[in-house]
Symmetry: C2
Subunit: 242 residues, 2 copies
């Protein structure tokens, strides 16, 4: 049995305020807990799981608490309660590295599903690192973690003053998607690149647009007003890496 | 004041069973209701809205019921209750047209957000029509409608036995995305094309894979296991239309 205090503590980690306060975050679902065991075993502080999961996984190096199904339902944020939930220590925030390949800069991506999908897509295309504006969703939000499908454990994500960060990227091409940019052409303007993706409805803030060395429009053939931010990211990265 | 029966009726339309039974669906949110007024005014049966929305929009041709904020909260499915909600008649289901340009075939896309984003992306790239397998999410699901950002009113979507439908597409190239396909190359194998997108985790069913004339892998440069279905659709359509 979990104590009331334990349940309350776990539930608190679904909120950014308490994740920041405790320096912990939650990973749920058999696939994501397996990814954590594989890629971030040292960051796992504690696992709560059904006895069936414990028997099947046979993990010996990490503290595991057996929890009955009705209690997993209490602590899970998923619509179908997960058989396992892990509490992880948040990695100590480092500073971004110098650009070496493609760095993705996100200006206020607010939807957690979009952010998770962007992190997953960035990993597929071999992006070096992602730098998020402070208004971007928290990458330790459970919905973000879920949508990354494990890429959260492999893709470096930073939160920075993006105006300042982009400002110090001298001599590196800065590409921005923009509905009033030039139609995108295949080809890559340099080995090292910064690619900026804008907010779901407002796009990239004008001061940051102004810092872009190239503004690209993904060619449009129909009536739709805009593309989803994660879809636009995928198309940009495909075009740049092909 | 709405009667209990009215509230119950509106809430019932959040479920496919009742949408099918009543032949109606719901459109919520100022942007989406505006899109409905612009692109499908004849299908709107009734609008429920706050007095502020009614004054601002000044719609005279459609029955509107003024509803106080606390009642909008009852009938809205959005986390922040919408100022307006419309009930629309579902269009009579037609049969798909012969392929003329790109037809998208969806094999069991289950996530409503993915389906909506795919419909929006398809419209951006000028896709002719979308044909969904019976296991695909209902395109009149409120989350699908929301994610289409209005494309639901302009993109023809059909539900068919996709095995049978693809089977009768003689002499038309059928492209499938596949993790064991050939790396995708720019270029379009024909003016008229069928592009198949598979389920989020299981991919395209083997019998349908076998009917594909070409199987393409989106080039991968990192560790991620797979791409989100909507992102993969966007990249395929970009590559085919560029």
């Amino acid at each position: 049995m979990l104590s009331k205090t334990q349940v309350k503590y776990i539930q608190s980690l679904f909120h950014k305020k308490f994740r920041d306060e405790h320096g912990r975050f939650i990973v749920e679902g058999p696939k994501m807990v397996s990814e954590a065991l594989l890629h971030a075993p040292k960051d796992i502080e504690q696992i709560y799981a059904l006895s069936s999961w414990i028997t099947e996984m046979n993990v010996s190096t990490i503290p595991i608490t057996e929890v009955p199904a009705f209690e997993m339902e209490k602590i899970s944020s998923l619509s179908t309660a997960s058989p396992a939930l892990a509490i992880l220590r948040k990695p100590v925030q480092q500073r971004p590295a110098s650009v070496n390949g493609i760095t993705l800069v996100l200006d206020t991506i607010q939807d957690p599903g979009n952010l998770g999908t962007i992190i997953r897509t960035a990993e597929w295309f071999g992006v070096q690192q992602i730098i998020c504006s402070e208004g971007t969703a928290d990458c330790y939000n459970p919905k973000v973690i879920q949508s990354t499908m494990g890429s959260i454990f492999r893709m470096p994500v930073f939160y920075e003053d993006i105006m300042e960060w982009v400002g110090q990227c001298k001599d590196i091409p800065v590409l921005a998607t923009s509905l009033d940019g030039e139609p995108m052409k295949p080809g890559r303007p340099g080995r090292d690149l910064v690619v900026v993706i804008g907010n779901e409805s407002a796009g990239i803030r004008p001061a940051l647009q102004a810092m872009a060395t190239q503004r690209w429009l993904i060619p449009r053939h129909g009536e739709a007003e805009s593309l989803n931010a994660a879809v636009a990211t995928g198309i940009m990265l495909y075009a740049l890496t092909t």
